[in-house]
């Protein structure tokens, strides 16, 4: 393979992994430009949005497009790409090694196990409920609601891969759990239990990235991400509203 092709492919792959897993655009742009510069391209032209990357090497008259369809959140991969780009800059790994490790990174992912995530979700629910001024008596109900909601969200997201439906059903389940817990005397305040339970589903990554992208001048990506977080928030709200309408 020619070296120019290899450079473009490596840069595009690095950008693709970062965008797919929830990095902000300024960081992606910076990393991609840096990789290209370190590979010996003087003036790489890169244009990236949340749905695709365009890259060209003007002096070599070569260019490629990389569409991005999948969108997940895995900040470990983002930081890993970042680290390898630093190693490449220092000359610790060659372009070929860099590319191979990116390909490997794209396939395998060391994720925390589902059970640990479930525990984390219940911990988030309970602690935030307490921080917002909830009562100790509601701890159990909140943990239950948060756990159910997050498992529902996780399984729909991972098995069926439908976006926004997972948030909707998760929030719906949380609302039902909160209402039932209070009816059966396992909790006092429906409001606090529901707020706590919903917190693990909050689209934190798109919200933060939307703000950062807009401030960094990446308006297209910023708006796309703001829309994404708005849709997630609406799905959660719909799930809760459903419960209040019919119970």
């Amino acid at each position: 393979m020619e070296r120019d092709d290899q450079i473009i492919e490596t840069v595009l792959l690095a950008g693709k992994i970062m965008i797919e897993n929830g990095a902000d655009m300024a960081r992606v742009d910076d990393t991609m430009t840096r990789i290209a510069r370190n590979a010996g391209i003087k003036d790489p032209k890169i244009f990236e949005t949340t749905t695709g990357i365009l890259m060209s090497l003007p002096e070599k008259r070569a260019s490629q497009v990389e569409p991005i369809q999948k969108r997940t959140i895995d900040l470990e991969k983002v930081s890993s790409v970042n680290q390898q780009s630093r190693a490449f800059q220092k000359g610790q790994i060659s372009l070929q090694e860099f590319r191979d490790s990116l390909i490997k990174l794209n396939v395998t992912s060391p994720f925390f196990s589902f059970w640990l995530q479930l525990v984390a979700a219940t911990v988030i629910s309970v602690t935030l409920m307490l921080m917002y001024g909830g009562a100790w008596q509601d701890m159990f109900a909140t943990a239950l609601a948060g756990g159910f909601g997050y498992s529902c969200y996780y399984f729909i997201n991972n098995r069926l891969q439908v976006r926004f439906v997972s948030e909707f059903l998760g929030a719906f389940l949380i609302g039902i759990t909160a209402v039932l817990c209070v009816r059966w005397g396992a909790g006092n305040q429906i409001d606090m239990i529901t707020i706590g339970g919903v917190m693990p589903l909050v689209p934190g990554v798109p919200i933060t990235n939307a703000v950062r992208d807009v401030f960094a001048g990446h308006f297209l990506s910023g708006m796309a991400r703001a829309l994404e977080s708005l849709l997630s928030a609406c799905a959660i709200g719909m799930g809760i509203a459903f419960v209040f309408r019919f119970m």
């Binding site: 929830g22 990095a23 902000d24 960081r27 959140i73 895995d74 900040l75 470990e76 983002v78 930081s79 890993s80 970042n82 680290q83 630093r86 992912s109 994720f111 925390f112 640990l116 995530q117 525990v119 984390a120 979700a121 911990v123 988030i124 602690t127 935030l128 307490l130 921080m131 917002y132 997050y150 409001d191 529901t194 707020i195 919903v198 917190m199 693990p200 909050v202 934190g204 990554v205 919200i207 933060t208 990235n209 703000v211 950062r212 401030f215 928030a233 709200g237 809760i240 509203a241 209040f244 309408r245």
Partner: protein, 146 residues
């Protein structure tokens, strides 16, 4: 006692969000402390009667600055630290009340809450913006001082 509760709760909540987002293991602890700092700044401003908006600006500002420091120290991207620590500031309560009012048919009350949600989101963005500004000015000054 109450402070201890808030410190431990905000630490655990931030840590939990870090696990859900799958941030690297060696960033988890510092991420938790960034969350504690942000929430403490928010509470501090709140107890000075600074109002909801200004408290959120303060919280976001402290989160932005401290995650920048952590990112430089650990040489990791900044979003690893500021996304999980931001979560306690998210206006979940107001959003919930807005949804509840809409479901109950009380549209005017719902819009009232929605405006609050928007303003809080805006002030969090403002806090990040100021922190970025401060950091940029600092690095510019340091570069010119050399």
């Amino acid at each position: 006692m109450v402070i201890l509760l808030h410190v431990s709760c905000s630490y655990l909540a931030t840590l939990g969000f870090g696990i859900i987002l799958n941030i690297p293991h060696r960033a988890l602890n510092s991420c938790g402390w960034v969350g504690v700092l942000g929430w403490m700044a928010y509470l501090f401003a709140w107890h000075l009667h600074a109002g909801t908006m200004l408290s959120n600006v303060t919280g976001a500002l402290v989160i932005g600055l401290s995650s920048m420091v952590m990112a430089r120290r650990l040489k990791m991207p900044m979003i690893l630290f500021n996304i999980p620590s931001l979560v306690p500031l998210v206006p979940g309560g107001q959003a919930y009340k807005a949804v509840r009012s809409f479901a109950a048919g009380n549209d005017l009350g719902a819009i009232d809450y929605l405006v609050q949600v928007t303003m809080i989101a805006g002030s969090i963005a403002m806090g990040f913006f100021i922190s970025e500004l401060v950091a940029r000015a600092y690095f510019r000054l340091r570069a010119s001082g050399k």
